[in-house]
């Protein structure tokens, strides 16, 4: 019996196998772009070319130059430094959002999918009611209750993201519940929670990773949208969405400002979406 588990584990261990296989060009592009983003953000956490808050009256709205690679904003702050800090804020919020979403999503989805019956019915009804709202609208409602600021945004977006994750985990668990290895485990009397989180969860990793990346992208876009509306991250915290709304006012005189900030946002989202698509493509063939 033990051997059976071991073998099963080996053939199904998706992530290790995935890393050994030849990778699709999309996956490689995704890995490269995401690494660049992470490197950019990590460097920004340690050192930025200028202080992201320092205002310099002489270089207000300065253009692109060797001194300021992306120019300066309306307060004379170095845009590159602010983009580095802002990307870090955005990624931090997206990560927090996805963590809350996936943690609660896994628990709710696992219970609903594994046990079925009444638990499934009750949890999924509640889930459907929440899914009836577009997530950005749900987040908007929650923010109007909690208030603005980076931790409230994480909480609001995180809660808004739980239903979609719960749905994915549930359907994956329903599929696995019928598989032979789970039947075997049930027969020898493994505790349901051990089956759910030690046996089924690792085998759902592949599906979860790609939906995690999609969720991450949605979180990045949602945070940027909320900050753009002025109800996300509050100044002096830099955020890509907030910078875009500032840049919009100087669109005619300094289009480069909006382009640099928006370009960074697109680069981040594109990298993670290539990564996600590459992983699910790799999983298929």
């Amino acid at each position: 019996m033990k051997q059976f588990f071991k073998q099963n584990h080996k053939t199904d261990n998706s992530i290790r196998q995935m890393l050994r296989k030849r990778k699709s060009p999309m996956l490689i592009t995704g890995i490269v772009m995401t690494s660049i983003v992470l490197l950019f953000v990590l460097i920004g956490l340690i050192v930025t070319p200028y202080d992201s808050e320092a205002m310099d009256a002489t270089s207000k709205l300065a253009g692109v130059s060797w001194k300021h690679l992306m120019g300066c904003d309306n307060f004379g702050r170095d845009i590159l430094s602010r983009v580095m800090k802002g990307s870090a804020t955005t990624l931090f919020i997206a990560m927090g959002t996805v963590l809350i979403g996936i943690a609660f999503g896994i628990v709710i989805g696992a219970i609903a999918g594994y046990f079925g019956g009444l638990a499934d019915e009750v949890l999924m009804r509640m889930n459907d009611a929440a899914l009836a709202f577009p997530s950005i609208l749900l987040a908007l409602v929650l923010i109007s209750l909690f208030g603005t600021g980076r931790y409230n945004i994480i909480l609001a977006l995180g809660i808004a993201f739980v239903p979609s994750f719960a749905r994915i985990v549930r359907s994956e668990f329903i599929k696995q519940r019928e598989m032979d290895y789970i039947r075997q485990a049930e027969l020898i009397g493994v505790h349901p929670f051990r089956i759910m989180f030690v046996h089924m969860l690792p085998n759902s990793a592949r599906v979860l990773v790609s939906s995690l990346l999609i969720g991450f992208n949605n979180a990045v876009l949602a945070e940027a949208g909320l900050s753009f509306l002025g109800i996300g991250v509050q100044p002096p915290d830099a955020s890509l969405g907030r910078m875009l709304s500032e840049a919009q006012a100087y669109l005619f005189s300094r289009p480069g400002y909006a382009l640099c900030v928006g370009g960074t946002l697109i680069f981040i989202v594109l990298g993670f979406s290539f990564l996600g698509e590459g992983i699910s493509e790799d999983a298929k063939g």
Binding site: D128, F133, I136, L229, L270
Partner: protein
Amino acid sequence: MKFVLKKAASLIATLAVVSVLVFLSFEFIPGDPATSLLGTQATPEKVEALREEMGLNRPVAVRYLEWSVGLLKGDMGTSYSYHIPVKEMVGDKVPITAALTLLSFCFTILIALPLGIYSAKHAGGKFDAAIGFVNQIMMAVPPFFAGILLTFLFGLVLHMFTPGGFISYDVNVGAFFAYLIFPAIAIALPKSAMTAKLLRSSILEQAGMDYARTAYSRGNSTSSVLWNHLLKNAMIPVITFLGMALADMIAGSIIIEQVFGIPGLGRILLTSIANRDYPVVSAIIMILAIAVNLINTVVDVVYHMIDPRIKQNG
């Protein structure tokens, strides 16, 4: 017919749950509306008098009933900040947001269907690859940034419209729709990229099925199989997606309204959130919830009519 009734019942149930949640969440929010209206200088007697006047001293259940019955009758309460009926503030904004959403939806279909069908028909070709590449980028562009780019390109460089020069529908309907074209495109671009991609893969999936091969083997041309056999089946997942996309566009229009300076529901929602004007916030949220759920129900019914085989639970 039975299906329609069942769906209508579940729509009403969902909206009832949503209305209770919306009412309760603004009920338990920290801070007393009467105090925040009068400011910190107010005497306790004044606050008490205002609470009585606003009806805040009565039980929660009674106030919920009053609020929801009022909502059904079209009476949405009185704004805290402007002291006028919410209906007056919100009523003439609904057509603006509705027009923007519908226009975006039309653009999405107009852009996505030809692109999706074309790239499925020429799958593996140069144009298919090019469309796929552009689609991938389009999906990563947030609508508000697309809006900024469109403002810059068509508004400031090409002078095809005046950014911020919104004209209301009761002044000039033609100019109203003309101003909404670019905002609608900004909302439609990422959605149409997703729709085109879904349609392409859906058509290709159908093309791999036995019935498609049979149709070919009977001497039908590629186009004939595509238009007469594949498309009908391939549209089923696309319709579901479009329904969700339409609901998403309502939410997306809140952000786009801000980019283009359109005084729709989104703008009042944001100022009301900032002013803590809860009667207005809850009224707008209920309007949006009703719209979104109504769309979802209609999509389900249409879906059922297209393909009665599909058994849906709920």
